[in-house]
């Protein structure tokens, strides 16, 4: 009886020690997280096998592995990268499209998200791969055209891509408008708004529609700043030197939150507002 009680007591002590150890580990991690970036504690950067390994090593379950990487990518992009780099995004998208080349949405998704993370060339390469693998898609050439236009300023390639999108039998009527635009003469913002309006109204995917609406909101914010800049000039006789002056000058109370989070600047000579990447 005494012996059994002793065994139970020892087991209880060991269990209590394991609880204490676990609490200490948690505290250590929390302390580390405070020093660095919030969320680092739970952050796991996805591991992507090299394309050659995936091409030859995944036997029988290529689609399933592509789906696994797709779900990993959504978690990765949705949860946020505490380092703000998202350096695995292009690798994940390449892996998915290597394993399941006919899976259309990753091409569109990549064209939508990669450029804003600094992967413009990777987005274009992905889009061009999509043109070959999913030739009937209207969305892949459409967003490829946007990337060429917006980030590469290559009006010829953008025009070709929009033309190709418009020729797709699945393209909505609105997409054909883009094929007729003379990009060299059209205003950049008006063109971007036209592009996103089509996406917001016609895309088959809810995420794409939401993303398009966010961009439209972003351009509405730019229009709002320019309107306030004109009001500033009426009041102070000049345009503000920075957007901050709209606030200090009493024109706006707070900066409206920009859903796409692109830094903006104001031209003190003309009062026009543009994106810093321009």
């Amino acid at each position: 009886m005494v012996r059994r009680a002793t065994v139970w007591f020892v087991a209880l002590v060991i269990f209590a020690a394991s609880v204490v150890a676990q609490v200490n580990i948690n505290n250590l991690n929390t302390a580390r997280a405070v020093k660095r970036t919030a969320g680092i504690n739970t952050y796991n950067e996805p591991f992507v096998l090299p394309e050659k390994v995936l091409a030859n090593g995944v036997v029988g379950f290529r689609n399933l592995t592509a789906d696994y990487y797709w779900l990993s990518l959504i978690q990765y992009f949705g949860a946020g990268d505490p380092f703000g780099e998202y350096r695995q995004l292009p690798h994940l998208l390449n892996a998915i499209t290597a394993l399941d080349p006919k899976f259309a949405y990753p091409y569109t998704f990549g064209l939508l998200i990669l450029p804003d993370q600094g992967f413009v060339d990777e987005a274009i390469a992905l889009g061009e791969k999509g043109l070959v693998e999913v030739p009937h898609s209207w969305e892949i050439p459409y967003y490829l055209g946007y990337v060429q236009y917006r980030y590469k300023k290559d009006l010829v390639k953008a025009g070709e891509a929009f033309e190709r999108s418009a020729q797709s039998p699945e393209a909505p009527a609105a997409a054909k408008i883009l094929a007729g635009i003379n990009f060299a003469r059209a205003g950049q913002r008006e063109t971007a708004i036209a592009i996103w309006k089509v996406a917001a109204e016609s895309s088959e995917n809810e995420y794409t529609r939401e993303r398009a609406k966010e961009y439209l909101e972003h351009y509405a914010i730019i229009d709002f700043y320019e309107e306030q800049a004109r009001a500033y000039k009426t009041r102070y006789g000049r345009f503000p030197n920075t957007l901050e002056e709209l606030k200090t000058g009493g024109l706006i109370r707070d900066f409206p939150p920009d859903p796409v989070n692109i830094e903006l600047k104001i031209d003190p000579k003309t009062g026009s507002v543009s994106e810093v990447l321009d």
């Binding site: 029988g60 399933l64 789906d67």
Partner: protein
């Protein structure tokens, strides 16, 4: 024929009494239901994810059943010495092997049917639409499983269960690597290329049964594709059963 049915019936009864089978099947059913959750976090790619995961899940679960039950079909009888009671009767060793094959085939038919029913129900709940290709893929999956049963049975007739499971797994991996092997062969010299080409023709090519991609992207099957795949499976399975029978005939009990 009566003896084949009797052995098959006995094998079927024995395998469905195996608790491990129920554990594997339970996880299979959970997996089918989990497709709904995984599909819902896939940015509207749920139908694709459900089809991919559902079809792969049905195969994986049944393959686990083959590895756990099929690979000791004959060796267990030898270990338990119950084979003596069977073979002392006027029963051919080929009858014994064929009966074992059909017994496990019946078990896999039941487990495939149960999981397929849940899979189809999930597709109906998600309004994914039921194309004939889904049923074709389920039939092709079942044929591939029969193929693997024959391989497992062959190894089970002369090796221990663990070794038999490993060999069957190796054949599965080789059987699905034919495209990669062919690609390697194209880059190699004439001798290696010839050897690889011969190997790809002689070894079981299980990629012939993998039409999951065609299901997801609605690419129709051609009549000759179906016909030649069925002929390929039937002839190869027959050869494997003949080999298993001959190995068993050489064994002294």
């Amino acid at each position: 024929m009566k003896a084949v049915i009797a052995i098959a019936h006995n094998t079927f009864r024995e395998s469905i009494r195996d608790r491990l089978l129920y554990a594997i099947l339970f996880f299979g059913l959970l997996l089918m239901l989990a497709t709904i959750i995984l599909g819902s976090i896939s940015l509207e790619q749920d139908v694709k994810v459900i089809k991919d995961l559902g079809l792969a899940g049905i195969f994986i679960i049944n393959f686990l059943i083959i590895l756990s039950v099929g690979t000791n079909l004959v060796s267990k009888e030898i270990d338990r010495k119950s084979i003596y009671t069977v073979l002392t009767k006027p029963i051919e060793r080929s009858t014994f092997i064929i009966g074992k094959f059909f017994g496990l085939a019946a078990t896999l038919f039941v487990t495939t049917a149960i999981m397929s029913t849940v899979f189809v129900a999930v597709l109906l709940v998600k309004h994914a639409g039921l194309s004939p290709l889904i049923f074709a893929s389920l039939v092709f999956t079942y044929i591939e499983l029969l193929f693997l049963v024959a391989i497992a049975l062959m190894f089970s007739s002369f090796t221990a269960p663990v070794a038999s499971a490993l060999y069957t797994l190796a054949f599965f991996l080789i059987g699905h690597s034919m495209t990669s092997l062919t690609r390697f062969g194209e880059q190699a010299g004439p001798f290696v290329r010839g050897t690889i080409t011969a190997g790809t023709h002689l070894l079981p090519n299980l990629e012939k049964f993998n039409i999951k991609n065609q299901v997801v992207y609605e690419v129709a099957l051609s009549g000759p594709q179906v016909l030649w795949t069925v002929v390929y499976a039937a002839t190869y399975i027959t050869v494997l059963i003949i080999i298993a029978t001959n190995i068993l005939k050489r064994q002294e009990f």
